[in-house]
Symmetry: C2
Subunit: 473 residues, 2 copies
């Protein structure tokens, strides 16, 4: 394991150099969550299909449990149960619009991960940075449990547990636990835990900060200890069911799944599941006793338990939905935690948008009306007063408003339409609107993937490191 | 599946061109045994260890179920459940003695398979051809079920079911079903089924031919049909147990296996197995209710059922041992079929050599004394008269002798010592003599192999073909 240890040290050193201006030392945060012996226990896998451009390159890396699809390169990196999905990468000849520019993509886009540690992190989508359209890179970065890096280059960062960086170009940043950042280009920033920040310069700025004491009940991460709290316990309590999924090479497909729907073979499908047409269930999703109506999607690492989703629902990466009833077109953002209980279920009316990183942990039955925007920490019906607004009302806002810990400024209509467009795009990309011939999406094209498993050297000084692997068409 | 079909046709055409002088058309033999849909159902796997030089290259090939270890290249080939083991390849700097020559190996040896179809074929060992010491190649060749290509280049051949070419350089040949050829350089030959031919020019010549009518009860292969007979039925009856072995990614190791022994994770180990020190059990071996004493080995595709092997036994590739008791140092050659039954067991005395491709199918209890050479087809004790000779007696022969269907000429002592040396070498290479520090062999170095599985394109015109895969240190 000598080489793996020295790779680990080298990455930490590189990230610390990047973060020297912020004065942040990564070491005490990672030493407790990266158990190098895990790097031996889990295999990595990559998908082969005729629908996704192939080009894998892994060198001097350890990849335990990682899932790869599409063009991807990992060099000098340690990845652990990371879902790196390259099924939305741009292709040569695509045209990207950015402000007034129309930019032609001049080669197939690829994911490049270099000198990076990703622990149970999802990396997905495509580069939204107009400067690097063909390269989706993450360099010299440490990302801790269940963080999401979505749609964008990142460079020299530390990303806390259950944090998300979305559609954004970061440079040298520290992102606190459970923070959600969709803020355009940022750099040299240290973001506090529990910051939900959605900014589009000159258009709008949405900023919510969790009360630190209440957030730490859910997720708490300090130097020298692994992350702790309800979120970690929840994931831990449900992980056993994944064992069989990883044990077998090919797994049987459950009966009664429509031909237009797709269940990833690394998802856990417990009994009493009803799946509608055009449904997409992604890898490491967990479904138990639930109903997913037509066009709904259950994204990576989400949990949907004892719940009913009426259709065209987006359940984003890492979201949890327990004992809840969701109307059509309800959007549940990244890492949101919606927990009803049998005596007090949560109900969410149609077209409501649950902001990424929202916690609704019910202490009494809660009913959220249709067409709302919901954020922050909610335990009771009355909390909606300070933590929601009707989308129609928000659309009328020009200027600023604040509610409790939320601060908003800019044009509400642009914020609402940005969200609606994105939801529409996600449903489209996932194949929710497939009509038998048109509007194919991931639910249709990801149905038949061959998975190849790759394993590390089992002993010796290269123990835990993977040999160099190149896969080409 | 378009590309796979055209690859198949191209290989057949190439082999037919090679065999034009013999006037042999391969097509009607292979069309019935190669079911291209199998190429989709099974995955291939390659082993990663620090003990074997790595360098895999697969291009434009279909590899279903194949097992690779060591440096290996497969180009334009169709392999199906083939065990291609590269753990005895020569290394740069090795010195090979051939007659009066001392030849230095100037680079690591690699296996090269090109334009080849191998169906459930074992390819193993290293090149014994002094002209191609660094290249272990098999080109434009079709090899049918359970054939063995052992230790040597082959070029443009058709090899029948359960046939073996051993230590030999072939060129354009047709080798009939169940024929065993260890004859030095041969070429442009068509060998009848059931020919057991061991020749060392200027030293000895051993030739046995099975009675065709009796052999066809065991294995029969004609144009237009798949191979038939007892051997095929036997393998078919035992294949179900392999299902779980291939289903799971990592398999538990049975308890009570000495640290010095090695059980391949793709072997089937049924209950009531006792394994001694330094035992080697290879991939696709099948063990049921048997005892393997210290230093015994059970090689690829062998079956050992209700039997007791006292120790230092060689059970070569594809041999079957059922209801039998074998003394120490008993050697059972390639594809031999030793079948006792509960009321009439077979017993074999120590140091006896069962020639490759021997059939002992008991109709009454049979007891073979120690120190014999045994060949051909035996059903009763009395058959030993015409099908065995004491090794000591054989050693005294100078000239020629014949017994029933056996013809021998040359120096018996050289024949006996060649066999004894080889058995000693096999035991040595397999680690039978490991003393805790010295004499390590495969039983010790192959214990801890990471297996990576590789799968083909699941659909589209490349369906059943594998992407190009390169694996390097």
């Amino acid at each position: 394991m000598k080489e793996l240890l020295s790779l680990f040290d080298r990455i930490i050193q590189k990230v610390n150099i990047n973060l020297r201006e912020i004065g942040f030392d990564v070491s005490p945060y990672v030493s407790e969550i990266i158990r190098l012996e895990h790097m031996l226990r889990f295999y990595a896998f990559y998908g082969i299909t005729p629908n996704h451009p192939l080009n894998f390159e892994f060198r001097h890396s350890s990849l335990a449990g990682s899932y790869f699809l599409g063009r991807c390169q990992a060099i000098n990196s340690i990845l652990y149960k990371s879902d790196i999905r390259g099924d939305e990468l741009k292709k040569k000849g695509d045209v990207v619009r950015y402000k007034d520019f129309e930019i032609h993509v001049n080669r197939d886009e690829g994911i490049h991960i270099q000198d990076t540690i990703l622990i149970k992190t999802l990396v997905h989508n495509y580069s939204h940075d107009p400067e690097t359209l063909e390269s989706f890179f993450i360099n010299n970065t440490v990302s801790t449990p269940f963080a999401n890096i979505h749609g964008s280059p990142t460079d020299g960062c530390f990303i806390g547990p259950f944090a998300t960086v979305d559609l954004t170009t970061m440079i040298d940043c520290v992102i606190g636990a459970y923070s959600y950042i969709q803020a355009g280009e940022i750099g040299h920033l240290s973001i506090n835990p529990g910051t939900v920040w959605v900014r589009n310069p000159d258009q709008f700025n949405f900023l919510y900060c969790y009360p630190p004491d209440r957030l730490s009940h859910y997720i708490h991460f300090a130097a020298g200890s692994p992350p702790q709290g309800v979120f970690m316990d929840f994931v831990e309590d449900h992980k056993e069911a994944f064992q069989r999924v990883f044990e077998v090479v090919n797994i049987e497909r459950p009966a009664n799944i429509p031909n237009t729907a797709s269940l990833d073979r690394f998802a856990v499908i417990k009994p009493k599941i009803r799946i509608g047409e055009n449904v997409l269930v992604s890898q490491r999703a967990y479904l138990d006793n639930s109903h997913l109506g037509k066009g709904a999607n259950a994204q990576e690492n989400c949990h949907i338990i004892n719940s009913r989703l009426q259709g065209y629902n987006v359940t984003a990466h890492g979201a949890k939905i327990i004992e809840a009833d969701l109307g059509r077109y309800v959007f549940v953002g990244f890492n949101s935690f919606l927990r009803g209980c049998p005596e007090c279920r949560l109900s969410v009316g149609e077209e409501t948008v649950i902001m990424p990183h929202t916690i609704i942990d019910v202490q009494e039955p809660i009913r959220i009306p249709a067409g709302q925007l919901v954020w922050g920490l909610i335990n009771k019906q009355a909390d909606l007063e300070s933590n929601s607004i009707a989308l129609d009302d928000l659309s009328k806002i020009e200027g600023r408003f604040s509610k409790d810990r939320l601060f908003f400024e800019g044009r509400g209509a642009l914020f609402v339409s940005a969200f609606r467009d994105r939801i529409q795009h996600i449903l489209q990309a996932n194949g929710a609107f497939f009509d038998g011939t048109r509007n194919k999406g991931h639910a249709q094209t990801n149905q038949n993937i061959s998975f190849n498993t790759i394993q590390p050297y089992p002993e010796g000084k290269l123990e835990g490191l993977y040999p160099t692997i190149l896969i080409q068409p």
